[in-house]
Symmetry: D2
Subunit: 403 residues, 4 copies
C-alpha cells in the first residue's frame, strides 16, 4: 500500500517528468484526473479520495494551480457559543475543521461555560494590514531626510496607493531607521478582505510614486521583512497585524466549579505560573492554545491558514476581583481573517461562513469577534483541565500560608 518514491535520483540524473497541464483550460475535472493518474504512474499511489469533491474546478482560478482534488478535513460542530460583540451577537454554532481528537469536545465545553455566564464579550480594537518596503540611501542622514519627506508627503503617497484599490485606505506609515536604510510600514484598512495582495499592490504604486518624486529617486525593495508576512513578530504584538480583537469574560465560581471542577482563585494562581513560564520561554503567546481554535476555524472557513503563524499570538490579562469573580481576557494581536476574497467563496468554506452569518461584505469584524470568542472558550477549557487533573487535589497547598 505504501508507495515508493519515483526514481532514485543521482545529482546528475535528469529530473522526473513534468506535471501535466492543459493549456486550453487547466481548471477541469479532466485535467485534475489526468494529474492524479500521473501521480499514480509516478508514485504508485492512486488518489481516490483526493479526487472526490463536490464543486466544479472552474471556480478555482485565483485559489490554486495544478489542481488535483481536495483534502477532506473533518469538521466537528461546537456550540452554541453566546457572543456579545458589536458585530457578532447571539448564539453561534461553530464549525471546526481538525483531525485532533478532543479538540472539538474541549472547545465545546468552554463554549458552554461562557454561554452559561451570559456570553463572551468580543471587541475588535484595531484593524489594519501592512506592507513594509525599505528605501536605500547613501547614509543615515539622507535616510532621515527621506523620512521627513515621507511625513510631509503623506497625502500624495496615500493618493498614489489608494488609486490601485476601491477598498484599501492608507491609515499610517510607520518609519524605522537602521543604518542607511529607511523601513516604512504602510498600514491599511482593507475592509472584509485580509488584504495582503491589496496592500502589496497599493504599496508598490506608492513606492513608485515616491521613487519618481523624491529628489534622490531612491532604490527600494517592496518588503524589508518587517511586514512581517507569515511570521510571528513582536512588532505585530505591539502594533497589530490584521485585527486586534479581545475576548472577555468574568467567571463566577458558582458556574465554574460545577462545570470545570476548579475555582477562579485556582485558575488565577496557575496563571501566575504559566505567565512566568511564557516570559522566560520568549513565547509569542502567554495563554494556552489559541492556535488550535483559530486553525480549526480557518480551515473550515476558507481563511489563509498559513496566517496561523501570525494569528496565534496573544496576550492574556486577568484579575481576581474582590468578590472572587475571575476577570479573564485574551487579546489576539494579529488575527488575519477575511470574509471576502481568497478561499472564502469556495464550496464548503462559504457554507461554513454562512452558517456563522459572516459570508461576504461586512462579515470580517463579526468573524474576528467569533474567532476571539472561540479562542477564549478553548482557553478556559484547557486551563481548567490542566488544573483539575493534576493539581486540584492539592490546591490548598499552592495558596499555602506557610512560607
Amino acid at each position: 500500500m505504501t508507495a515508493e518514491t519515483p526514481k532514485s535520483a543521482s545529482p546528475a540524473a535528469p529530473a522526473a517528468a513534468k506535471v501535466p497541464r492543459d493549456k486550453q483550460d487547466d481548471y477541469t475535472r479532466e485535467i485534475a484526473a489526468t494529474r492524479r493518474d500521473f501521480v499514480a504512474a509516478q508514485t504508485g499511489t492512486r488518489l481516490e479520495h483526493v479526487g472526490h469533491y463536490s464543486f466544479s474546478p472552474d471556480v478555482l482560478p485565483g485559489n490554486i494551480e495544478n489542481f488535483i482534488g481536495v483534502a477532506q478535513v473533518p469538521i466537528g460542530l461546537a456550540g452554541p457559543l453566546r457572543i456579545n460583540g458589536e458585530h457578532a451577537q447571539g448564539d453561534f454554532y461553530i464549525p471546526m475543521a481538525t483531525t485532533e481528537g478532543t479538540l472539538v469536545a474541549s472547545y465545546n465545553r468552554g463554549m458552554r461555560l461562557l454561554t452559561e455566564h451570559g456570553g463572551v464579550k468580543c471587541t475588535v480594537v484595531d484593524d489594519h494590514m501592512q506592507r513594509s518596503p525599505v528605501f536605500m540611501f547613501d547614509d543615515a542622514l539622507a535616510a532621515r531626510g527621506f523620512g521627513e519627506w515621507i511625513t510631509a508627503h503623506h497625502a500624495d503617497i496615500a493618493a498614489a496607493a489608494e488609486a490601485t484599490t476601491r477598498i484599501g485606505k492608507l491609515k499610517r506609515i510607520g518609519q524605522y531607521a537602521v543604518g542607511n536604510l529607511r523601513y516604512l510600514r504602510f498600514n491599511y484598512a482593507t475592509g472584509d478582505a485580509a488584504g495582503q495582495n491589496m496592500v502589496g499592490k497599493a504599496t508598490l504604486a506608492a513606492c513608485q510614486w515616491i521613487q519618481a518624486n523624491h529628489p534622490l529617486h531612491p532604490n527600494f525593495m517592496l518588503s524589508g521583512n518587517i511586514d512581517t508576512d507569515k511570521k510571528h513578530s513582536q512588532i505585530n504584538t505591539l502594533n497589530t497585524r490584521g485585527k486586534r480583537v479581545i475576548a472577555e469574560i468574568t467567571l463566577k465560581d458558582s458556574i465554574l466549579k460545577p462545570l470545570m471542577g476548579v475555582t477562579g482563585k485556582q485558575l488565577f494562581h496557575a496563571r501566575q505560573i504559566s505567565q512566568a513560564g511564557a516570559f522566560i520561554a520568549g513565547s509569542a503567546n502567554n495563554a494556552a492554545h489559541a492556535a488550535n481554535g483559530i486553525t480549526a476555524l480557518f480551515i473550515a472557513c476558507g481563511q489563509d491558514v498559513a496566517n496561523v503563524a501570525e494569528s496565534h499570538a496573544a496576550t492574556t490579562y486577568c484579575q481576581l476581583l474582590d468578590n472572587g469573580d475571575y476577570y479573564w481576557s485574551i487579546t489576539l494581536t494579529s488575527l488575519i481573517c477575511a470574509t471576502y476574497g481568497g478561499g472564502t467563496g469556495l464550496a464548503t468554506q462559504r457554507e461554513c461562513l454562512e452558517m456563522l452569518g459572516c459570508y461576504g461584505k461586512g462579515g470580517a469584524l463579526k468573524f474576528a469577534e467569533i474567532c476571539a470568542g472561540v479562542v477564549l472558550a478553548g482557553e478556559t477549557s484547557l486551563s481548567s483541565a490542566i488544573l483539575a487533573g493534576d493539581w486540584v487535589s492539592s490546591h490548598d497547598q499552592l495558596g499555602r500560608n506557610r512560607p
Copy 2:
C-alpha cells in the same frame, strides 16, 4: 443566501439548542446528516458541500467530535522536487492544500530551481517532543535541591515515563528556575508520531513518580507553559521542538539568472536588509514565508495544522562564496510532524502521505526532510520575485561604490 445567526440573545436568555448526538454511535453518516439538518434549522444554512465526503465516519473516533462533514480544501500538485536527504532521496511530487492563488505556482518555480541544481540537501539534526511540568516549593532553595534530586534520579524518572509508551524515550530533562518554582522540560524521542499526547501521558506518570518519591512530595502542574505547545517561542528556536531540519542549496548564477532573473549577489545584498528587518521586528523567522509551504503540506498530509504556530519558525543563514555561488540554508527549528497517528490515516491525508512514500512507521524523518526542501523552494522563489520585480532594474546601485 447569507444566513442569519439563530436567536438574538440577551444575556439572560436561555442558550440555543444543543447539538444532537447519538449515544449509541456518534460516528455515522446519519448523525452527521442530522447535525447538518440541525445547522440548517438553526442558522438557515444548508451544508451541502460539507456533507460531501468519501469515507465512512467510523474511522473518525480520535480525530473529531460532533462530526458533520468535511472542509474540501483544494490540492495543487507541485514538483518534481529533487531531494538529497538521508531519508528522502529522489524526485518528489508535492501535494499542497491551499486556497491562496500563486502559492503552488511559486513553490513549483522554486522546486524547478533546486532540482536543476541537482537537488536540495535536507538533514534532520535534532528531534524531540516536549512536555514541561512545573513543581512548586516553599522557597528557591528547596526548588534548587529538587533540581539536583531530579538529575540524580534521571533513570528512575525515565523508567516511570517510558512505562506508559512503547515508543517514547526520555532523552533529557531541562531545568529552569524561577522563584520558588522549578520548571522541567522533558524531551522525548517519539518515533513517527508527533507525540504531544504520548509525552503528556509519559510526563504525567513521571511527575506522579516524582511526587510520590521526592521527600517533599511537591505539587506540580503538568504544563508550566514552557513546552510551549501551539505557540512560537525562543526556547523552540534554541532548543528545538519536534524536528530541527535544515535545507541547503548552493545556487549558481548560470541556472539562477535565467530562471529567476536575479543573481546570487543580488540575493545576498537583499538578505542583509531582510535580516536587519527581521531583527528589529522581533520576528520568529528571518526568512520569507516558510508558513505557506508548511501549511499547505500539513493540510494535505493530515498533520496537526495548529502546529504551524511553532513550525513556521526558521533561521536563514547564507554566504556568497568566492566563486560567486550562493550558499543558502534555512533551518526549521521546531517542525512538528508525523506519519503515524493523528490525522495521518484519514482518507485523503493518507493518500498524500503515500504519494510521498511517507505513510506510517519510518516516515517521519523523511517527511520532515521533504517539508524543509519545499520550504527552501518557496524561499528562493519569493525572494527572487521581490527582487526581480522591484529592484533589479537598479541593482547596480545597491552595491554601489560611492558612499
Copy 3:
C-alpha cells in the same frame, strides 16, 4: 583585612543600627566622615580611599543620599577619534572610565582605524523619552473608546503635560490595547536632559487632566511597564528610547588590512555568522560589545549608568560593496544620555563632558554622536581581533568553493 559582616542575625533579632544622618545639613564632609566611621564600627572596614574626594558635598543634593565618599574609577584616554557628525565635528579625545584592561587600548585601535578613513559619520535620527501610564476600564470596548478620546484631545493633553516643564514637548502618544486596559506611551522631546523625571512629572499632570476630564474618570497607574525604564525591550528597538543614533563607516582594505590584519570580505563573512547567532539567541544587539564603550563613557561623563540596560541595544547592518569596500553601520536604538542635569555637573563628570565640548545646553546630540562613533570604533576593533586571532590563518576556507 577582610571584614566580617556586622551581626549574625536571626530572623527575630533586632536590625542593626541606623545609618547616621545630620538633620541640619546632611551634605557635609563631617557627616560623610561620621558615616564612614559608622561603617568602620559596624563592619571593621575603614573607608580611607572612599573618603578621598576633591569637591564639596554641598553640590550633591539631587544626586545622592547618605553620602560617604566616592568610587574612584580609573579613566583612560583614547583617541583622537575623528567624527563627521552634524553636531560633533573634528577630532576628539575620549575619556573612558573602566576597570577592564585592554578596553581602552582596543577602542583606541578602532578609533585610529576610523580616523584614518577620514572619520566616522554619526547621525541622530530620532530623539524622545517616554513615560507609559495605563488606564483601566470595565471592558475592552470602553478602553477603545478612551483611546479615540485620547487622540481627539491630544492638544489638551499636551498642554497639561507641557505646563509642568519649560523644556519637554509632547510629540506623540502611542496606544496599546490589552484586555480592558489601555497603555499609553507618551513620547517627549527633552532637550539636553535625559528627561526621565521630566516626563514622569509631565505625564502625571497629563493623566490627572485625563482622569478629570474623561467622562469615565478612569483609574490609572503612572507606569504600565512599557516605558520600559531601565530595561531593554523590543519596543525600544523599534520605537526608540532616548536617542536613536547611527554611526557609519566605509572601510577600505588598504587601510583595514595593515591595521587590523583582516579584510572587509572576511569581516562580512563573519558578520553572517554572528548575525545568525544573535538571532537564535534572542539578543538585544546583533553587534559585538556596544555596552563596553557606552558604559565607560557614561561613568566618565556623569550619565545615569543604569541606562546601559537600554542603551546597549543595537542593530548592525553592513554591505560588501562592488569595489570591495565594506560599509558598516551600527544603529543604537535607545541611547539615553544628557549633558544637563543628573550627574553631568559633578566635578570629574563635568570636566569630562567639557573636554568633549559637550557640557550643558546644546550638548546632548553632540554627545550622542560621540557615543555612537566610539561604539563603532570598538566594534571594528573587537570584530577584527576575533578574526585575526582565530580564523584568518584559514580564512580561504570559509569562502570556499566546494559545497
Copy 4:
C-alpha cells in the same frame, strides 16, 4: 568654561596629535599628569578633579590604559539590609555609587521593609560563564556529525580547556545547529572571578584541540555571538549567564501598609498589569528597575559595569497567599559579578567589597546574594511608590466587583 573641540577637521586633514605615552613606565602620576596637560592643550579643558586620586597608578596595569585620573562617583550608604542567604547572613550596609537623586533613599526604604520582615531570602541556583565558538562545515550533515563527536569527546575537550586555568571547570557544552554551522556554548564554573577572560582562553585551547583532533579539522571562530557577551539575550534568561540568583520575601500587610502605604493585594493587582505590559513590550525584565541597584553596587564594588547589559534581566514571580500575605520573588537570570580579579582590588572598590565581607576568594556567591537582596528592596520600594502616589486613592476600584 566650556571647551571647544580641538581642530575643525576635514576628512583629508591630518589627525590630531597622539596621546602621550611613557615607554618606560606608563603607569605613573607623572605620565597621567602629562596626559591631562595634553588634554588641556588640545581641548582647553583642565582636568583638575579627574587628577585627584588617592592610590598609586602602579596598581593599574590590567585595569586601564592611558590612565589620566579618575571619575569620582558619589557613594551613598543604604541599609541595614538583613539577608538570609546561604552565604550572606546578617545585616548589611550597602555602598551604592550613583548620581541619581532618590535612588539611595528609595532602596533604603525597601531595605527597611525587608529587614522588618526578618530579612530577604537569597539563593544562587546556577552559576556559569560562557564562551561560544562556532565551527564551520560543508553541510549540515557534517555539522551534525561534528556535534556527536563533541559529545563523545567531552572529557578530552574539558581537559584541554581546563589545562589553561587553575580555577575554571567546564561543566557543559550546549550545541545549536544552524545551516552548516555548529554553535557550541561552553559553560564553566569560574570561582570568584567573573571569568570572561578565563573562559575565552580555555575555550580557545579547547577549540584548537578540537580542530587538531577532529577528522575534518574544521574552521572556527572563537565567538559565534551566542555567548552573548555584553548583551541581554533570551538565551541568558533561559540558560543563565554568570549567576542565577533569586531573592524572595513574603510581605505582611501589617508591616507593608504602614511603611509603604499599600497592601499586598494592591501590589498583586498592579503586578498583573505590569506583567502584561512587559510581555507586549518584549522586555528583558518584567519587574521594575533592577538595573538601578545593580549598577550602583557594580560601580562601588569594582565590577565590570558593562555587564549591566546582561545583569539587569530578571523575572518576577509572585502569589497572593490565602492569608493575604504576598509572596514576591525576583530571579536575576544573568548576574555577572566577581570578588577577585578585574577591578575588585582597586582602592575604593576593595573597601566597598570589604565592608560587605565579600572581598577575594569565596566572596562571589555572597556578593551575588547581596545583589539580589538589594534588587528586591528596590523593587518593593518603587512598585509601592507608583501605587501609593497615583492609584491608591482609588484602589477600591481596580478590584471592583462590577464588570
